[in-house]
Amino acid sequence: MDFPENLPSSSDIGRLEQIVSHFFPKALHIVLDSRIPSLQSRGRTRDRNLNLKKSDKWFNLIMGDRPAALDKLHSWHRNILDSMIIDIILIRDHDHAETVIERWVVQYENPLIMSPQSSDPCTRYQKVYKKAIILLRSLYAQTRLLPAYRVSRQLSSSLASSGFEMVYKVSSFSPPVTETMTEFRFSPVEVPPGRLCASVTYRSDLSAFNLGAHITLPPRIITDYVGSPATDPMRFFPSPGQSFEATSSFHGRAGRGPPSERPHSWTSGFHRPPTPNQSFSPQFSPDFHCSRTDGGDQHQLSPPFSPSGSPSTPRGSNSPRINVRPGTAPVTIPSSATFNRYVSSNFSEPSRNPLPPFSPKSTRRSPSSQDSLPGIALYKSSRSGESPSGLINHYPAHKLTKESKYDSGRFSGLLSSSGSPRFGFSRSPSRLSSDLEDPDCSCPFDFDDVDESSGGLQYSQSLDRRKTSSSISQSLPIGRKSQDAAVGVLVQMLKTAPPLRQDSSTYMASSMSGVQREGSSVSGTESEFSMARSTSDALEELRNYKQLKDLLLSKSKSVGGATRVH
């Protein structure tokens, strides 16, 4: 395209004007989107590139649908020569003291006197547009780097009141700020006949506001937690809730935990569900780190106990495991002694060829882990008023499985009966109970492969040592749903059932039965659970167990005792 040497063409002028006039709302959108949760765009999902509005394509930066409020805000900006000043203000609740913590200024400077030679022939609108794009890119990145971003995330994700509110003000004129602020000026972009300028003045130190005080408390484990998300989905669960509330990733980060966490970036932003790692309560045990010989690729746990959780990467194999619904209640956690008993027995086994695979069950959790992500997001967004949907329903089952002698297949069935995405795994009973009782366990469902060989042995021992009645008594009154009651009754029944024989074949029996059970339809087991169980049912169950046990004993003999267990 050839242009006259000195003057841009008329079409260019029009385009340049458009660039300037669209620059302001775009900058406004970028700034407020990152600071004010209520103005965050809804449409920022990956799969909606097809229906982009033209306005969203400006400057090649898709922000999602611009909230109507932003359009209204911008409508006052008639004259492009007016500055646009966006103030981000913190208001203290009790005395309404306002402090400007950030001020963004976007301006189109048009010097009255502009010599013709200054209009560079190279300033075609494409170049100008390109530079404006870069400017907005850096503006976007800068919004994420400045302290106000963190503050805004803290305020929006905090479940408890922090005593502050973040508001914004858009104006053309503002009194200069009095506090010492740092200024950053973006390089202006020449847009003939003027130039676009942007700058930000910000308080670099926001510690005076005591915003994150309640969040930086180290997470505590509540060992005798009584509560259910079914009772109050919006309830704030304090200690594991430390990580739950902080489904935004910057809680529980940055050196709070021991440093040997596994590195990965969280793909979380305002608009995408955080990875499971963010939201997991500190229930992960480092001990399992060594014990993962089987299915190890799926069960990599970060060694140290970390309040920030996230033992596994968000990618691929590990995410299926983290199926503890982050938005749901924590469970009663047993003492670590109980748990470690299992672990140490595992360690003494040099080669644990995994029992017939519980790992496939782990993989089967993949779909549910995908489901868990939206669940996490939903939980988080519930803070901003959206309903968490049925995810919290999953959880009641967890805390009820204490002495879970019952078959793991049932467990999965039970879970799915609550309408959640299926966990799709089988658990051996003793393992499951240890999961839930150990405060330092990793995700309860991680223990599949670890406990398998030892669970059978210490099974009966664990029955004795585990807290039984307390957990059951806790669980029953909690659950309002019939499922909870049914599970409680089931557990009670299983508790009272005689233990299986203490040898490896026993364990294989339980695991194999788990495999078999997996194949059974979930709906069948669902209906079982929902019915009240009578003694005859229990006896029937016992008979089934015995049959299975015999079957597996015979099988194990043929296998030749492949798995050695202490």
Partner: protein, 243 residues
């Protein structure tokens, strides 16, 4: 087994510098040297953050930005959202980390270079494709291996948390320092991409991000220099200012 690193970030436009000084990666801007050390698993986070931030500013096609929160630090950076970019960067980082693991106690540099592809008439060079490099970012790291300490939280079940006290204090203070440094680096990147925009090639239709390559010395520094020289020769004449 930890390996600790120091991180430095340099950046500078390279077009004019190539002729003068192809081997030294001239620093056009203040080098930001951090005194803090980076553990091996932090390398990935740090590198990913830096590389993505740079590429984000050079992905001038229609993109949907993706905010990523670092796990280890209180920092959020922006990715351009393109899967190929992410994969490419991740692959390179993995290669680099592997390389670092094999060559501890060594200074190394990872370079992110943007180029423009120009097809040329077949000439003496069999390859018709010509790459004109127009920007290069250098990230200098030096890795050294401290005395081995036992991994944390390994077998003893009672030691579920790292011992509070000296060890974790050191590490957390180091990490805080590193976080501040990383933040500084990101500010620098933003500052630099703002300052110089003219050399950026025009946006082509359908091209989302400027093609780039990430290189690091695969064996020694001298070889790395040779690689640079080869690349220089390969690219034909000196890269001219692209308008």
């Amino acid at each position: 087994m930890f390996s600790l690193l120091t991180v430095m970030a340099d950046s500078g436009p390279k077009k004019a510098q190539y002729e003068r000084d192809p081997y030294t990666h001239t620093v056009a801007h203040e080098a930001l040297e951090t005194k803090s050390e980076v553990e091996s698993f932090e390398i990935r986070e740090v590198l990913r953050c830096i590389l993505h931030t740079i590429v984000f500013h050079r992905a001038l096609g229609l993109i949907r930005p993706k905010d990523i929160d670092l796990e280890l630090f209180d920092i959020t950076y922006v990715q351009c959202g393109e899967i190929e970019v992410e994969k490419k960067i991740d692959d390179k980082i993995e290669q680099f980390v592997t390389w670092i693991g094999k060559h501890p106690n060594k200074k190394s540099q990872i370079c992110l270079t943007f180029y423009e592809v120009k097809t040329k008439q077949p000439s003496w060079f069999t390859n018709k494709i010509e790459r004109l490099y127009w920007e290069q970012w250098n990230i200098n790291l030096s890795a050294f291996q401290p005395p081995t300490k036992p991994p944390v939280g390994k077998s003893h079940h009672s030691k579920l948390v790292m011992d509070p006290g000296e060890e974790s204090e050191d590490i957390s203070s180091r990490r805080t320092l590193l976080e501040q440094s990383l933040q500084e680096v990101l500010f620098q990147i933003i500052k630099f991409v703002n300052e110089k925009k003219d050399h950026v090639p025009p946006i082509n239709d359908g091209v989302i991000y400027c093609p780039f390559e990430i290189t690091f010395p695969s064996s020694s520094d001298s070889t790395f220099g040779m690689d640079m020289l080869k690349r220089m020769l390969h690219s034909g004449g000196h890269p001219s200012m692209l308008s």
